[in-house]
């Protein structure tokens, strides 16, 4: 027998999730899979316009990997259909449509990053333009006839916007239906997503029924907070830990999270056992324990998932050199210049430590900039570059400025 007993599978699947709708159908699907020795098809959608994966994505990817370990089939659906449309209203200039080539490159990049979590050889990657792209207006009308406007407007964000009289374009009602068609085309048994995807996943269930298929079971997972501890983790908010971030960067970022997130990160972003998690929870409740010890362990656990164990140890050492002994980290980037003198604001900008002269002045004003361990107090300061100068902005941004002859 290929598959574990249903109760054992179920116990693992239910760990760490928010919704499982409906449980009895999942049990029936698992039973039938075991009886016929057929894996379940487990779908996860991914957005090709945001190809950089972070720990937020890892929460669902880890659940998908779990299904793989249980013997089921993982299907990554790259949503290139909508990616290639971009923002059709043309109002959002920051979301230009992707070319077919770009969606393929981003899809492959997503896939190769996800492979740090998934079993690469047993993951299917598909592009939904393959079926959505062949649908005609008449197919769309038929699809759209299967769902009412009122139910669509029950979706949380639609409801809020509709009540607040904020515009919702008609095409926005088509996107959940398009995503639902993915489940029809793939005959998905299970679909995974963050809790913010709950509505869309349920539409998939309904539309599968309308197309005469057995409806998928939906499983949602918590949304991980970013390193700021407030908002959901996202690249655009710069509060993320990328799963391809180098070990030292991961270490520093994880050490910066608020203490009250430690447990949640252990739960959602690592593979520690339930017993370990309980022990960690107990330690955190103990005032005698310094939370930073647990944070160090968290950082090591996460780095070990995406790099080698050795890398975690090295990252911790590098971190200690900078933060414990005020040393400059080993991998500090080098900025080379031909000039003998440079205004410190220009230097900060050109070396990429700040985004603009204004930000440079602000950072200096806040006392966040130092040159060779001496705080800069005057934003008009001109630096003589002789040999090597180490500049630091904030706690973790360093650059070594080096004069080159030429």
């Amino acid at each position: 027998m290929m598959f574990k007993p249903v109760s054992e599978q179920l116990e693992l699947i239910k760990r760490g999730i928010v919704d499982l709708i409906p449980e009895d159908e999942l049990i029936r699907k698992l039973e039938s899979s075991r009886r016929t020795n057929q894996p379940l098809r487990v779908k996860l959608g991914c957005d090709p316009s945001r190809p950089d994966l972070h720990l937020g994505h890892s929460v669902v990817l880890k659940k998908l990997a779990q299904f793989q370990r249980l013997g089921h089939e993982a299907i990554l659906v790259v949503g290139d259909f909508t990616g290639m449309i971009g923002d059709p209203s043309g109002r959002n200039k920051t979301r230009p449509p992707l070319s077919l080539e770009e969606t393929r490159i981003n899809g492959q990049s997503y896939f190769s990053q996800a492979s740090r979590i998934l079993d690469k050889d047993r993951t299917r990657i598909v592009y939904n333009s393959d079926w959505l792209g062949t649908m005609t207006f008449s197919d769309v009308v038929k699809l759209a006839s299967r769902y009412t406007v009122a139910r669509m407007l029950e979706r949380d964000d639609f409801e809020k916007r509709f009540k607040a009289q904020e515009p919702i374009s008609v095409h926005e009602l088509l996107y959940p239906l398009a995503q639902a068609m993915d489940s029809v085309a793939l005959q998905a048994d299970v679909e995974l997503g963050g809790t913010d995807q709950r509505f869309n996943l349920l539409v998939g269930r309904d539309i599968q029924k309308e197309y005469g298929l057995e409806p998928q079971v939906i499983i949602t997972l918590p949304i991980l907070e970013g390193t700021d501890g407030h908002q959901k983790m996202s690249k655009s908010l710069d509060n993320y830990v990328g799963i391809t971030d180098p070990p030292n960067e991961m270490f520093g970022k994880i050490m910066s999270i608020p203490d009250d997130l430690i447990c949640r990160y252990f739960e959602l972003a690592t593979d520690v056992s339930a017993a370990d998690l309980a022990a960690i929870r107990a330690q955190l409740a103990d005032v005698k324990v310094n939370p930073s010890h647990l944070k160090r362990r968290l950082a090591r656990e996460i780095i070990t998932l995406y790099h080698k164990t050795e890398a975690a140890r090295q990252a911790e050492e590098a971190f200690d050199r900078v933060f414990k002994h005020k040393d400059v980290p080993e991998d500090t980037p080098v900025f080379e210049t031909h000039e003998n003198e440079m205004a410190v604001t220009r230097l900060l900008t050109e070396a990429g430590l700040v985004a603009s002269g204004n930000e440079a002045r602000r950072q200096i004003g806040q006392g966040a900039v130092s040159v060779n361990n001496v705080r800069v107090t005057d934003d008009r300061m001109v630096l003589t570059i002789d040999g090597e100068v180490v500049i630091k902005v904030g706690k973790r941004r360093f650059v070594r400025v080096r004069k080159v002859s030429g």
Copy 2:
């Protein structure tokens, strides 16, 4: 100069209409048409699933014919795209999808009937599946992004249904957009429709703008009441006067309308001049005038539009023979039978005077059936058929039953 002065055209166009949105744009379009000697493109949509035209349709068709006489281009858009989809929810079994062939046959039938009103040689007939049928899902998303859900739900019937929590399927929001795309594809300058089409025509205006075109001017016309005087004229309510009805049938149907509709029918369904209309209105207000004289004139006017003048006179004479002199009309159909005896209920059914045995009994119960001018009082009556028997149901349904040997 090909075109009449703008003020003259405008005066004619504005006659008998409800909405003209906006008038200043129509004036500009007429001016430019006259200056460049280019006709305006005037669009009228028609539904190929209801190919039988009646006086209700004639109201907009007459306005379209007027544009033709002013030198403009008439475009009949056969909505075969939606016709071929039918009722996509599959809930309405009475609206099966039409085949391409059926839409073409119905379109041609519509065209040939409409040619009793329009100048056939100067009417373009187009099928909207030609452009809507080539649209992809991605084209539909782009189209749907140009309109908000809230504005769509402002449409009268949507608003009522939404508030009453009656289901509106998402595809229903796509139909006004599809119709609007017709205006884009045809670059319509003007679109005509009944007042119930006002919203859809306005969507056409908006969508043309979104696609970078000069928006169409919309003109709506009143909805004609049916011969019952209550509901809008429609074949399914059996309160219609078909524009291909034979003269005698037209005459009888028109004579059956309530007196308070006489003026409205003159206004919307004939070509009498404004002066004549004023005179008719005055006569109707005069208690000394018998309204049936005006109704006779109305019937003659309408018949003359769709048949020969001679036909109107003959229809009136036939009508008089039946109704004034209690004669049997000359064109009463003949029903031939081999039998010597027949139950009167069966005879009524087989001769097509009633739809069922039940209706036969009901009509007899109401005293509406007579045989050779003698009222039938017993619904179990068996008729001996010897030579010719004339049967009458209600006021206008006759049949001559004739025994044939064999």
